[in-house]
Symmetry: C2
Subunit: 302 residues, 2 copies
């Protein structure tokens, strides 16, 4: 039998509101980012175990906006897992996530989580590897915590902003400036072929001046590789905030440069084109894009 409540519903509601407001204030003033970071690492490892089991079994695959835009039961289930975790542990925080179970976020105020439960779903389906869980957390639009977990390789790229970035237990070096002619840059074949967003001649001009291009099919992994220094740059004409939210924090932490493809600052709540790299490599790639625009070549501006 339920005990008589000590407080009525009305007073409870008043107290709850008061408590939440105070809690939110504390979180904003003195957020324990270490605690959040450690939670995220714990959660991606737990979710990763489910994904490893899933790739050994049957996947329920659907198409989203186009036949090539795949989603699985595991994308949805993993996103729900994270949302439940965040709602329980950090109720004042907002969530921007791929499968739409998060919040409708209109501003970068407060604490925002950018969650991609499976970045590289096509790889997840076709290859059962080369996919990642990507979690980036921002406060007032400033990157604070990033975790990218390449589930099958087992590598976790992670950082608390201002305290260095890591692959597993190994601290990542500050990136050198680099130069395009000795660089390896991730560019998907889409942008080298006919497409609606950029004149492929511009992208080919960049590709031809690198040492080589690569394409792995997971933006989160490709951005983590840039932060790790095993790729020197990355170009894509279309990434959502949950794709680049975590990677951007990592790249910032190691001294890389990230903008839209025409050099404009990235917009955290929108789809963006993205140009990322070691500072020197970014500058050279940007020069090719800007010369293309000046020469009348098509580059999608917002």
């Amino acid at each position: 039998m339920l005990k008589q409540p000590l407080i009525t519903d009305d007073t409870y509601e008043m107290l709850t509101f008061k408590t939440l407001t105070e809690r939110e204030k504390i979180m904003t003033d003195t957020v324990n980012w270490k605690n959040i970071h450690d939670h995220v690492v714990e959660w991606v490892l737990e979710a990763g175990e489910s994904l490893k089991r899933a790739v050994k079994g049957h996947l329920n695959v659907e198409s989203k906006s186009s036949p090539d835009d795949l989603v699985t039961n595991m994308d949805k289930q993993t996103e729900q897992f994270f949302i439940n975790k965040v709602r329980t542990s950090y109720p004042g925080h907002q969530i921007v996530s791929e499968e739409g179970f998060g919040d409708e976020v209109k501003s970068t105020k407060g604490i925002l989580w950018f969650i991609d439960p499976i970045d590289g779903t096509m790889n997840f389906v076709h290859q059962k590897r080369h996919f990642a869980i990507s979690v980036g957390i921002y406060e007032e639009g400033v990157g604070k915590v990033a975790v990218i977990y390449d589930v099958i390789s087992g590598d976790i790229y992670h950082c608390i902003a201002g305290h260095g970035a890591y692959i597993n237990d190994e601290k990542l070096d500050e990136l050198d400036s680099g130069e395009l002619k000795t660089s390896v840059v991730a560019i998907n074949g889409t942008w080298l072929s006919k497409n609606r967003r950029i004149d492929p001649e511009i992208v080919r001009g960049i590709a031809e001046h690198t040492r080589g291009t690569r394409s792995y099919g997971s933006a989160a992994i490709e951005l983590a590789y840039v932060a790790y220094g095993i790729l020197d740059g990355y170009l894509s004409m279309r990434l959502a905030p949950w794709d680049f939210g975590a990677g951007l924090i990592l790249i910032d932490e190691v001294g890389g440069k990230a903008t839209q493809v025409d050099g404009q600052p990235l917009q955290l709540l929108e789809q963006n084109s993205i140009l990322i790299g070691k500072k020197g490599v970014h500058a050279e790639m940007l020069r090719y894009v800007q010369e293309g625009i000046q020469g009348g070549k098509y580059v999608q501006q917002k």
Copy 2:
């Protein structure tokens, strides 16, 4: 002090020749491919340990034919390791290998080893991962044993022809026919951009009709992925026999199709263009190339 030899140099030489000839005869008649396969697996694991140690230390990198054609002390050292092993255990066999310590082989007679000590040297240098040791062994031009070791991931793709192909201990499935529109195909950006070997419009036509393209920078790994069914096809305009020797045997074993890019049979002792895939995917890709040639587009023929 040296003992008096029991036989003189002259009789020794005669005996040795006689013994070798007999041994060669036995090997050609009743070669123990299981034994050879197990040796190769043992050797790639041993060489892999050296490569893992090397990527943690200093690499001595040189350029070969062009600034982008890298070679390291480890390419040479690993090739020498294999050549010593083969010369000792299988003295009648011939070796075709990347760094040139092998034999000058003019025909496919007898038993030929195609050895790439580090396939993906640029990855080895830049990424310290995504490189492989590739060993393919042929008898009278027919593939017999293949081993591709993706050193850092730890995956070994291997087979004895006619006895199934494996990744580690897991038997690979026979490939289904596949279709281009749901396929993921490995194509490097080089062939989508201006190049001397193929009109990039042909390759872009293929790429646009896939579900997506990838590029990993190691042909041996890409061919192993096709055999494993996690890529559906692969196109390159220039591979050496040591690049594709092992992969070809694996793909044959699982029922995939491999030709030159215009449909001609592959030549084991020459550089080739390569078109490889599930049978249906190969046929569709080939049709784009043939239509291109008929339409007057440039494709390098030998």
